[in-house]
């Protein structure tokens, strides 16, 4: 007696294979969306991008907007490093990274042409806490924050905290530190701020996407740290601004370079970009920016494209689509980002970014 299941399964999988291979190729327009009869369905085709997880909600929102115009943008948040690697390998049409490429990464990417950094939105890192009786806006400066995360300051009513917060009743509770356990640009931003104000931090854990944390519990992702903070009384952790604003966390007001205690808001985040010295290739960092209204842990996130897209491997249609994506990002996309709790680019930087996009080329000619 022969085994009967295998033939049935084989037929089934063969059928599926047939469907799959028959429908292979581009299927992005087979979606049957109804609401775009009046919108300018002037674009077509699809492009792919990968990279930072921080701006992923914004990018997928922009992608949904562009979908209505006919262009499919497929973005996956695999991490800034992954974004740079894919961009360099040429498997994606654009990359995305939270911090600008360093010299080694730049050199590797230069094999295909000149990489261009285009800032898209600004974001910030909040210091969020869960302390009974303490409202939003606890004042902390860089050194105290570093000492908390170094494990030197162990209680909420420590003198260094109380000194900055006259009139606030601080409980005699232990501080539990929550930090990221995975590699992330958010960690790099946060540690850059700490290192700027604490020699002990700079010499110790240092600045990187992932460091050896002297104390505290590791959690994966923003949501992990958020859960860690929420679940433990007396916990403190660093969380992306969009996430913190969305979930109404209590976060601290940090002391910036000008000596002011600033609350993380979209305005203070964009303000950080105003004072920063921006180099020609737009590879800048806005951490610890000058200016009274600047939030000290703010930074831009970047989109990566090649200066000459076609020489790097794209065809003309694709180059056009990538430019349309970038135009939208720096155009209508900015107000969309704001509605999602991401800070739009400050005007000076926005103009520079737009100039960069206008200067993109396909085989030496401007992209139509």
């Amino acid at each position: 007696m022969t085994v009967r299941i295998l033939p049935t399964a084989a037929v089934g999988t063969a059928a599926l294979l047939a469907i799959g291979l028959a429908a292979c190729g581009s299927d992005d327009s087979s979606n049957g969306d109804t609401g775009s009869s009046d919108s300018k369905a002037t674009l077509s085709g699809s492009i792919t991008g990968a990279g930072a997880t921080f701006p992923q909600p914004v990018y997928t929102e922009w992608a949904a907007d562009l979908k209505e115009q006919g262009l499919t943008v497929n973005y996956q948040g695999i991490g800034s490093g992954g974004g740079i690697a894919q961009f360099t390998a040429g498997t994606t049409d654009f990359g995305a990274t939270d911090s600008a490429m360093d010299d080694d990464e730049l050199k590797a990417a230069e094999a295909k042409g000149t990489p261009v950094h285009i800032p898209s939105v600004f974001g910030a890192v909040t210091v969020s806490y869960n302390v009974s009786g303490v409202e939003k806006g606890l004042k902390l400066d860089g050194e105290t924050t570093a000492n908390i995360f170094l494990g030197k300051v162990k209680k909420w009513n420590d003198a260094s905290i109380a000194k900055q917060n006259e009139g606030v009743t601080l409980p005699d509770a232990d501080i539990t530190v929550c930090h990221r356990s995975d590699e992330s640009g958010t960690t790099k931003l946060f540690t850059t701020y700490l290192a700027a104000y604490s020699k002990a931090w700079e010499d110790g854990p240092g600045v990187d996407k992932s460091v050896d944390w002297p104390t505290g519990t590791g959690a994966k992702g923003n949501d992990g740290v958020a859960a860690c903070v929420k679940q433990t009384d007396g916990a403190v952790g660093y969380v992306e601004e969009a996430y913190a604003l969305q979930n109404q966390f209590t976060f601290a007001s940090l002391k910036n370079k000008a000596g002011q205690y600033v609350e993380p808001t979209l305005d203070s985040t964009s303000a950080a970009g105003d004072g920063v010295d921006v180099p020609e290739d737009l590879r800048f960092s806005a951490i610890n920016a000058p200016g009274d209204a600047s939030y000290p842990i703010a930074s831009a996130t970047f989109l990566l494209v090649y200066q000459d897209l076609c020489k790097a491997g794209a065809d003309e249609a694709k180059a056009k689509n990538v430019k349309a994506w970038l135009d939208y990002a720096l155009g209508d996309g900015q107000s969309k980002a704001e509605s999602l709790n991401y800070a739009p680019l400050p005007s000076a930087i926005l103009e520079k970014a737009k100039a960069k996009v206008a200067g993109l080329q396909c085989n030496g000619a401007a992209i139509g």
């Binding site: 490093g81 690697a85 356990s181 590699e183 590791g218």
Partner: protein, 341 residues
């Protein structure tokens, strides 16, 4: 008289022809299967080789021995000592096996030997349902449900038994080795249980009935007739479960704390080889040495799996030899008695 002969004579050639044809397929079938096995061997060899090539930069920069023995995994300082990862992998896997194997084998035993026939099918499906849950769900359930719920119990245990090694006192971390091992145990139970169940099902009825006829209780029958027969199969199942435990990435990385050091107790945070790859690859992809280090961590994991499986197979072969020798020895006197009679 010749008629039956001729019909039989007429039928015989076609019978023989059929048999010859069918036997002729035997050779090619054997060759094809051998070729398939060889193909898989080549594929796996290529897999290992390719990954070794990717991992070479870290061995060149950092040194293979240092990679395995240094207790310092700090990528930001270009330090790639994987020893805390290896230790974490071993600790969590051992915990997973200690908890998982007895539970899984017990459930398989229960289903095949002790459960009333009506609920056998239901129990089987329920255990297999454990395998249907995606690993990320186990991890998240661990983070949001299990860790907060179990923490008071862990703290009590840690305080009460602080005199035992590896348990000792101090505050229990939320995510820790024990929770990771526990979640791994839950994940490997369905594998070990399902395959053990199939194994236990094939124990010949005569063995079992013979034991019962000799007056054994049900448990004694299981111990004498069922378990020895199934030992090889159950250990194969356990090895598959162990493989899962060694290589589980996402669930572990959510509940172990990802601290690249060796904790003093099972309630400290730790890290494993698989978790580090999942955690760091997204960001490390653009740094050749870091990326090579992560792939090298994978290679170390392969070595570990190979060594453990080797030991297990050797152990099983040895106990099987002993088993068949004992069986041969017990048969001999009966034969001589029969020969005499």
């Amino acid at each position: 008289m010749s008629t039956p002969d001729t019909t039989l004579g007429g039928a015989r050639p076609s019978l023989e022809l059929g048999r010859a044809l069918r036997s002729r397929i035997d050779g090619p079938v054997r060759q094809v299967l051998t070729a398939v096995a060889a193909l898989i061997l080549v594929l796996i060899a290529y897999f290992l080789l390719r990954l070794y090539l990717e991992a070479r930069p870290v061995f060149a920069n950092y040194g293979a021995l240092n990679f395995v023995t240094d207790n310092a995994w700090v990528p930001s300082k270009d330090s790639f000592g994987a020893w805390p990862l290896i230790a974490g992998t071993l600790i969590t896997s051992v915990i997973a096996l200690i908890i998982g194997v007895p539970v899984a084998v017990a459930s398989a035993l229960y289903i095949t030997e002790l459960a009333p026939a009506r609920i056998r099918g239901v129990l089987t499906t329920l255990i297999e349902l454990l395998a249907a849950v995606p690993s990320v769900v186990y991890g998240l359930w661990g983070v949001f449900f299990l860790i907060p719920k179990i923490r008071p119990a862990e703290q009590w245990f840690s305080d009460t038994f602080a005199f035992l090694p590896f348990i000792g006192g101090g505050t229990v971390a939320g995510p820790n080795y024990f929770i990771a091992g526990l979640i791994l145990a839950i994940m490997i139970i369905p594998i070990i249980s399902s395959i053990s169940r199939e194994v236990l099902d094939t124990v010949p009825r005569e063995h079992k009935e013979a034991a019962l006829a000799l007056g054994a209780t049900r448990w004694e029958m299981i111990r004498m007739a069922v378990l020895p027969y199934s030992r090889a199969g159950i250990s194969g199942a356990a090895m598959l479960g162990l493989g899962r435990a060694l290589g589980e990435t996402i669930a572990v990385t959510l509940v172990i704390g990802n601290a690249p050091r060796i904790g003093e107790s099972i309630f400290s945070q730790g890290y494993t080889l698989a978790a580090v790859i999942a955690n760091e690859f997204g960001e490390a992809a653009s740094d050749p040495v870091h990326r090579a280090a992560l792939i090298a961590a994978g290679l170390v994991l392969f070595m570990l799996t190979l060594i453990v499986n080797f030991i297990a197979r050797w152990f099983v072969t040895r106990s099987e030899k002993r088993l068949s020798a004992a069986a041969a020895a017990s048969h001999a006197p009966v034969q001589t008695a029969g020969a005499k009679a």
